[in-house]
Amino acid sequence: MPNLRVINLVKILASENLMGRKIESLLIEFARIHRFFVRFLRELVTPPFEFKEIIRQCYEIGWKSFPLISLTGFIVGFVFTKQSRPSLEEFGATSWLPSLISIAIVRALAPLVTALIASGKVGSQIGAELSSMNVTEQIDAMEVSGTNPTKFLIVSRIIATTTMIPVLCFYVAGIGLLGGYLSIAAKDDMSLLSFFNQVFESIAVKDIFAMVLRAIVFGFTIGFASCYVGYYSSKGTEGVGKAANAAVVSSMFLVFIEELLIVQILSFF
């Protein structure tokens, strides 16, 4: 309710020509995001919980992303290793390849690649789905039947992205390292065991912690941004396309901003 007051105040100020229209719409957008977030938090902790829908979303978002994530993770690990080899070869340091790729994958590539793939696949899916439900009045139908669309549609999806993206991130790290190993094994005589010995010597617990933290933050962001643009999309079929597009773009943009901030914050530890 305070947000409604803020929105009304902004509208009054704008109608009096005391503020530009762009600032008005920006402030209204911020107030709406805030209201959406507060509503999400309230429904997150208030029973009854939509466990069945949460599990269904985890399946949709997590399990159904595995094929794409597997391929992408493997290629990233393989190509990164292949591209890194010439630089290390100049210094005769190809034996450092396992350490290099493990640090790169765990600290940066795995969470980032998972988040970007999820932004494209999951973000567009959520944005388009919610937007089309909005256009066809399915969300209104939930409202008027005395059920809670925020709990069913929003909370379940955000919980699913926040929990599934860390799982996918671990998987990408593993498959990326496997890709890296195959790239090394194609040229050097190295066993899988000694490769992984070097990998685990190079990464510390705090690296794993940082990876999980990033994945949780990215997962929440993708879920929240996609749900928001889908839920508040404009009407009409054009709105569905725009919502899918906005979900991907805003998720990716926010992921990069967060990556920048997290790197800065973690550098203090």
């Binding site: 009045e137 399915q138 209104d140 139908a141 939930m142 409202e143 008027v144 039947s145 005395g146 059920t147």
Partner: protein, 257 residues
């Protein structure tokens, strides 16, 4: 084809729209609108497209808030209720959407169960199945129980939409353009269903339409929305007994052209 009016209690007002105004930007859709719906009555709201008919029932169901005025539904002022109380009141209001608004990722059974299991949490599986089968039988679509909405015709979707609202046994039904986009025979079926619902479930209803055949068949009373106000009301004959140029084309198009 015209209905006989029974069971209407003109002393019991179930919906009272009191001097309600609603604008979208500079567009004034409703201006100081007054409306009453009596217990057991089917009230038809006529009007051109874009005159605010659908806005009116969205205001009544609390999907939109009025800029001015109050809307009293079953003794509660909708526009001042908080979310939880509004949700409770909505269990007593059925809303049939123009495009049915069926959940397209769910089967017909799941569509009907959706509001039921969330509003009546202590029901057993057997009771849920019984309710679903009963309400589906009521709209004559028992065989569609496991179908997806995409597999249904427009008329069937309308019926399932109505069934989904009936499953909570509402006191009030709001129909938004129930016959829009349907062939004449299916329109007749839907109109009969609206009358059946009124008789069988003892509902009071507001039917938004610009289909005069539908209005004539289902309405106990009619009001016409003109320039954001209800300027004419009464029976079908009373509404169209006028030389008003804003009203006559309605009749001419439906019955003469």
């Amino acid at each position: 084809m015209e209905k006989t009016t029974q069971n209407i209690n003109y002393e019991d007002v179930v919906i009272h729209v009191d001097k309600v105004s609603k604008s979208f930007g500079d567009l004034h859709v409703l201006r100081d609108v007054d409306l009453q719906l009596y217990n057991g009555e089917n009230l038809v709201v006529l009007g051109r497209s874009g005159t605010g008919k659908s806005v009116l029932i969205k205001l009544i169901s609390g999907l939109l808030k009025p800029d001015q005025g109050n809307i009293n539904v079953l003794g509660e002022v909708v526009n001042i209720l908080d979310e939880r109380d509004l949700r409770g009141l909505r269990q007593r209001i059925g809303f049939s959407f123009q495009n049915s608004a069926l959940y397209d990722s769910m089967t017909v059974r799941e569509n009907l169960e959706f509001p039921l299991v969330r509003n009546k949490r202590n029901l057993t599986r057997t009771e849920i199945d019984k309710e679903v089968e009963e309400v589906l039988e009521g709209v004559g679509l028992s065989q569609a129980i496991n179908q997806m909405p995409s597999e249904l015709s427009g008329g069937q979707r309308k019926r399932i939409g109505i069934a989904r609202t009936l499953i909570l046994r509402p006191d009030i039904m709001l129909y938004d353009e129930p016959t829009a986009g349907l062939d004449p025979i299916t329109c007749l079926d839907i109109n009969s269903l609206i009358n059946e619902v009124q008789e069988r479930y003892r509902t009071s209803s507001i039917i938004i339409t610009h289909d005069l055949a539908c209005a004539k068949m289902v309405g106990d009373r009619m009001v016409m929305l003109l320039d954001g106000k209800f300027e004419r009301q009464g029976t079908f004959e009373q509404i169209f007994d006028t030389e008003d140029e804003r009203v006559q084309p309605f009749y001419d198009y439906n019955f003469i052209v």
